[in-house]
Symmetry: C2
Amino acid sequence: MKRAVVILSGGMDSTTAAYMAKSEGYDIVALHFDYRQRTQKREREAFESICDALGVVSRYVIDLPFFGQIGASALTDSSIDVPTGGIEPGVPVTYVPFRNGIFLSIAAAVAEKEGAEVLFIGVVEEDSSGYPDCRESFIEAMQKSINLGTKDSTKIAIKTPLVHLKKEDIVKTALKYGVPLELTWSCYKEEVEACGVCDSCRLRLKGFEKAGMEDPIKYAASAT
Amino acid sequence: MKRAVVILSGGMDSTTAAYMAKSEGYDIVALHFDYRQRTQKREREAFESICDALGVVSRYVIDLPFFGQIGASALTDSSIDVPTGGIEPGVPVTYVPFRNGIFLSIAAAVAEKEGAEVLFIGVVEEDSSGYPDCRESFIEAMQKSINLGTKDSTKIAIKTPLVHLKKEDIVKTALKYGVPLELTWSCYKEEVEACGVCDSCRLRLKGFEKAGMEDPIKYAASAT
């Protein structure tokens, strides 16, 4: 059976990508990162329950304490506040330096060990927080780097099924593939009730609204 | 002052690259990885003493416990023996899956945080152990990936001053730049006296021999 490594944070996007991978017939190796992000405990819980729901047997939870050492982001340095006033143009303070580059590099090592031919990552380019490491051009360059920097017998394709979707299309896609959206967690800030006002909550809520659907998770506040 | 992140294992190659960076006038941010390699304790000791000798103030020691979790290499899985019978063609069992991709990705994050414009890595392509992640084509692809996956204001060049040198030329270069070779550690296998027979010791000893120099570190055995 062909095998795929899926980077799975437990958010709506990566979970949808995981369900799409499953529907393509891949045997899934699920890869989760604890990078000392604010909501790591809640994300880990989401990851495990989604893996249970999807029937994923092979799971890697990778501990990356050094992200706290580097910091330089509101997600990994508790002295920098997560913005809640609305999405602004440019790269926001929640950007974690080269995070997806690091994640994809580790995913490549896992894929080479596991004999996987595909990596799935749920990046979204246009309708997103504006992170440079979510751009398709970056992902294409990383795919080339990975194939040049591993054994010649290792061939890895990176699949980004959501990269050009708008958030409402991701909600619709999730419903189509039977994604248990109630298990997913997207909030940057809180772990019990989603804050509703960080960039990630705003993007998610806007997606549900435009799709004409109701988000099954609980929110503490709603943006007006 | 212009700033460079230097990946410094404490071996002969990375130390020579660090001295070359210093001579080019860079303020050095030294970056060392504990990836659960067999000789991590001895390499860390080499790193610290080389930083002291070079007057490096900014040091990052990055803990990467997950390499032990992935394994799949004689350097990170103690159940796989380090070969001592001589260098053979192909990718050896000491290859650590996509190690330099992971190292360069983390180095890019540190460089972006620290405002460094250059990364130095002491990879050697032809006269080496045959690792795919030491090829110049891979390094060039990673440089492109890093610049696409970080902020547009971040511009990072990767310098590989040793990539096309033979080992004897690295020994000569090290002497020219005043590298304290007695502080460096290259052995894959042992931490007190270098084994003299692993691929890394063999390459180093051959370099000294061809350069007509004597290696200042102690060896337990010598290959015949």
